[in-house]
């Protein structure tokens, strides 16, 4: 069995975002990067399946991006992936989901993966498109937003999370792709021995030019903060003072404090 998991590196979302010089994406200076949260669940599920299948199973992790994404790749290797493909692209941020997906499918085409795992969405761009497009381009079965995954003898049984906490149960025959939702499992922390072992695992670097054949279908023309709705009161400064003010506001504006 051959498994693939696709990961993206994203900035820490508690950061302050400033537009870049072109005003179409964020400026990366001062941002700390880590693995997209949804992709951690995807890696964990792929690693669990890898462990279930044992010998003869190979799990590859793939990430498209500049050199910094190697950090996220290393984390996946330390979590239990066998090897990695780093698709080197300093301009990955400017590509639309269609292009990112066509790069992944160009990589996956000849390699015949049985199961591909992706996150349901990336936290910075959040299009929730890449996984499904990859499956369509490869012509394989696909389901999205899974919160439960089970594999047995060529069949995946998954639960999709629907609105209001209802779930939909689906079965797919491999080859197939699933997109992973938060809470699918509990992602492990890499242990020190596994971090050491991961250093020996192979990371193949591939230039994006070898895989990218498609033009973008949509362009970002502006990246900006939301228009301030205003109205709300912002309280800064001393805690005791903030407490006094909040209590005064509650007494004035609501009936919850007598």
């Amino acid at each position: 069995m051959k498994l693939l998991v696709c990961i993206k590196q994203v900035p820490d979302l508690e950061s302050r975002f400033k537009p870049d010089a072109a005003g179409v994406w964020y400026n990366e200076t001062d941002l700390a990067f880590r693995m997209n949260e949804y992709d951690e669940y995807a890696v964990e599920q792929a690693v669990r399946l890898r462990e279930q299948l044992g010998e003869g199973c190979e799990l590859t992790v793939l990430s498209i991006g500049p050199d910094r994404v190697v950090e996220a790749i290393k984390k996946s290797l330390a979590m239990g992936c066998d090897n990695a493909a780093h698709i080197q692209d300093a301009a990955a941020y400017s590509k639309d989901p269609w292009q990112i997906a066509s790069i992944i499918s160009a990589y996956a085409k000849e390699r015949n993966f049985d199961i591909i795992f992706t996150g349901m969405q990336s936290q910075d761009r959040g299009s929730a498109q890449v996984g499904v497009i990859v499956a369509e381009l490869l012509g394989i079965a696909c389901t999205t937003t899974i919160v439960n995954f089970d594999y047995d003898n060529g069949t995946i049984t998954a639960k999709r999370e629907l609105e209001g906490g209802i779930k939909g149960v689906v079965k797919l025959k491999t080859p197939a792709l699933v997109t992973c939702q938060l809470g699918l499992n509990v992602p492990r922390y890499p242990t020190l021995p596994n971090i050491m072992k991961a250093k020996k695992k192979e990371i193949t670097a591939i230039s994006v030019a070898e895989l990218l054949k498609e033009e973008s279908l949509a362009a970002t023309t502006s990246f900006h903060p939301p228009a301030k709705k205003g109205g709300g009161i912002v309280l800064e400064g001393d805690i005791a003072d903030q407490v006094e003010k909040v209590i005064a506001i509650l007494k004035d504006k609501t009936a919850v404090l007598r």
């Binding site: 269609w98 761009r125 498109q129 696909c142 209802i166 809470g183 109205g231 912002v234 909040v246």
Partner: protein
């Protein structure tokens, strides 16, 4: 602009969110038609063309077949935009239609922008304007961003039949977990988010809820990490609440959380990040460390 709107139907009922599609189409202007895999007993109150396929025959979740049906309607109508809700149904199906048409897809549209569409990014903190470069565009619109609009009337139904197999077999629904607290009835809710730091800090948030005579709520990561049970979760995949007072402790204000609590009468948010999107809907934003502010606040009201 001509639009094809894709309605939603689940467990034998048309979903009310379908009416947000009409709200979007009204803002965009131009002609529109709708397609729904549903049933004749559940028609939208709308006087236009409705391409209807029978869910009993096609399945409520059958992406291969639903894609084919949509492509058939696209052939007949030749729309400029094919519009889905950004929902478990929409984000699953939209990219399949977009790939088949090689059309640009813009996800999570929250507003129309000059020549393009406004979408949220960076967990709701920032916005992008996206301009499609293709003749046809596939869109998914964010729930709650466009008004609910019931155009009224009875649709001109055109039946579509689907044939062919499927690669994804749907075997049934599983009901939501039983709730041990009904937050919908609570007048005061104090919710814990990831910003409370760790499970050991939950009692501090619970203490404020108790002091105010309210219930404990939570954001999703707090539930996923098993700090509190799922019955406390507020949001699209948890409960929808509208208390007199909602206190958000260390919650960033992601769209899926806001969808569950933005109708609260009065909202207080405690967050160390002044730019957190929760600030956009909060009546009061306390910029502070939640573990410093909350105990001090509780102590003051408890006295």
């Amino acid at each position: 602009m001509k639009t094809l709107l894709i309605g939603e139907y689940r467990e034998g009922k048309m979903l009310e969110s379908t009416y947000e599609l009409f709200g979007f189409a009204a803002q965009l202007g131009g002609e529109s038609a709708m397609l729904m895999v549903g049933s004749e007993s559940q028609l939208p109150a709308y006087g236009g063309t409705l391409y209807l396929a029978d869910a009993a025959a096609c399945g409520e979740y059958n992406p291969d077949m639903h894609k084919k049906l949509i492509l058939e309607a696209v052939q007949i109508e030749n729309p400029d935009c094919i519009v889905f809700l950004h929902s478990s149904y929409g984000w699953d199906l939209a990219p399949r239609v977009a790939v088949a048409l090689k059309a640009a897809q813009v996800s999570e549209v929250i507003a129309l922008a000059d020549g393009g569409f406004e979408v949220g990014c960076c967990n709701g903190k920032m916005r992008r304007t996206v301009k499609p470069a293709t003749a046809k565009t596939v869109l998914t619109i964010q729930a709650g961003s466009f008004p609910v609009l019931q155009p009224g009337g009875t649709p001109d139904v055109r039946k579509l039949e689907a044939a062919g197999g499927t690669t994804v077999e749907f075997t049934g629904y599983e009901a939501a977990e039983k709730k041990d607290v009904d937050l919908a009835k609570a007048e005061i809710i104090v919710s814990a988010g990831r910003g409370v730091g760790k499970k050991d800090n939950i009692p501090v948030i619970q203490a404020l809820a108790t002091a105010l005579g309210g219930e404990l709520g939570a954001s999703r990561p707090v539930v996923d990490a098993e700090w509190v049970s799922h019955s406390h979760q507020v949001g699209t995949t948890g409960q929808t609440v509208s208390p007199k007072l909602y206190v958000a402790c260390g919650i960033s204000g992601a769209i899926q959380h806001l969808a569950g609590m933005k109708k609260s009468d009065f909202i207080i948010a405690i967050n160390k990040d002044k730019d957190a999107p929760i600030g956009e809907i909060a009546d009061v934003l306390v910029v502070a460390d939640v573990m410093q502010f909350v105990p001090a606040f509780t102590a003051k009201i408890a006295r």
